[in-house]
Subunit: 111 residues, 2 copies
DNA sequence: ACCGTATATGCCTTGACACGTACATGCCCT
DNA sequence: AGGGCATGTACGTGTCAAGGCATATACGGT
């Protein structure tokens, strides 16, 4: 029904999240993923299948290896769903920021 | 493991997403949610329990009624997780935009 | 052609979760 | 105090998806 629900279901899986985090650093073959994640190869392949169906990754065959790479545009839908909520909490943050502007430098330790 | 995985699991549920969307318009009592969503009351209460545990909503008792309201800051964690990916796809969009700036209006008058 | 490597798929079991029904709790009104 | 309304909770059930194992497919080297 909600389109973003499917996407969220795909992301609601620790292993798949870790796969995306790994791919964030750059493309990766299945074997490397298996090693890095400590997950069995069939499980990894199935998760990759799900990520592929969600258009979050794409494959580039290189001999027997299959190199997976990120498709970050797929996450734009999630960003769009998040937008109205972000306006809300940023509104509160803006109020905080205005307060900080009025009382400068009360602890600059946050990155 | 990943902290955001819990949050995503909470959101990976159409009914819970719809509840958040309703609360986006403003606070709401359980009975109204039951009516609006067409879900049984126990189911609604259970989903609200999950959303409460995830600190995405908070309750304000008003006599027998319990009015639920949004807590959008809880979604900031999801936004933070999304940030590095957003940089990627926005990078591509920026590149496209730069291209469009260099070659203004490539085919606006055609299709 | 054969073998080893790399990846995908099929079947089965198990565990988690959402739903429905019934019940418990809490609050207001008379 | 009692009855009705609004909401939370316990239990049993069905469904769905993740994991493990075995196997199938694809490719390269010899």
């Amino acid at each position: 029904m909600t389109p973003s629900h499917r996407l969220l279901a795909v992301l609601a899986e620790p292993t798949r999240l870790r796969i995306l985090d790994v791919l964030l650093a750059g493309p990766c073959a299945v074997g490397e993923l298996v090693e890095l994640l400590g997950v069995t190869q069939p499980a990894t392949s199935k998760h990759l299948r799900v990520l592929r169906a969600a258009r979050l990754v794409h494959v580039h065959p290189d001999a027997q290896r299959r190199v997976y790479a990120l498709r970050p545009e797929g996450l734009a839908e999630l960003d769009a769903w998040l937008a109205p909520y972000r306006r809300l909490w940023e509104g509160r943050l803006d109020a905080l920021e205005a307060h900080l502007d009025a009382n400068p430098d009360p602890g600059r330790s946050l990155s």
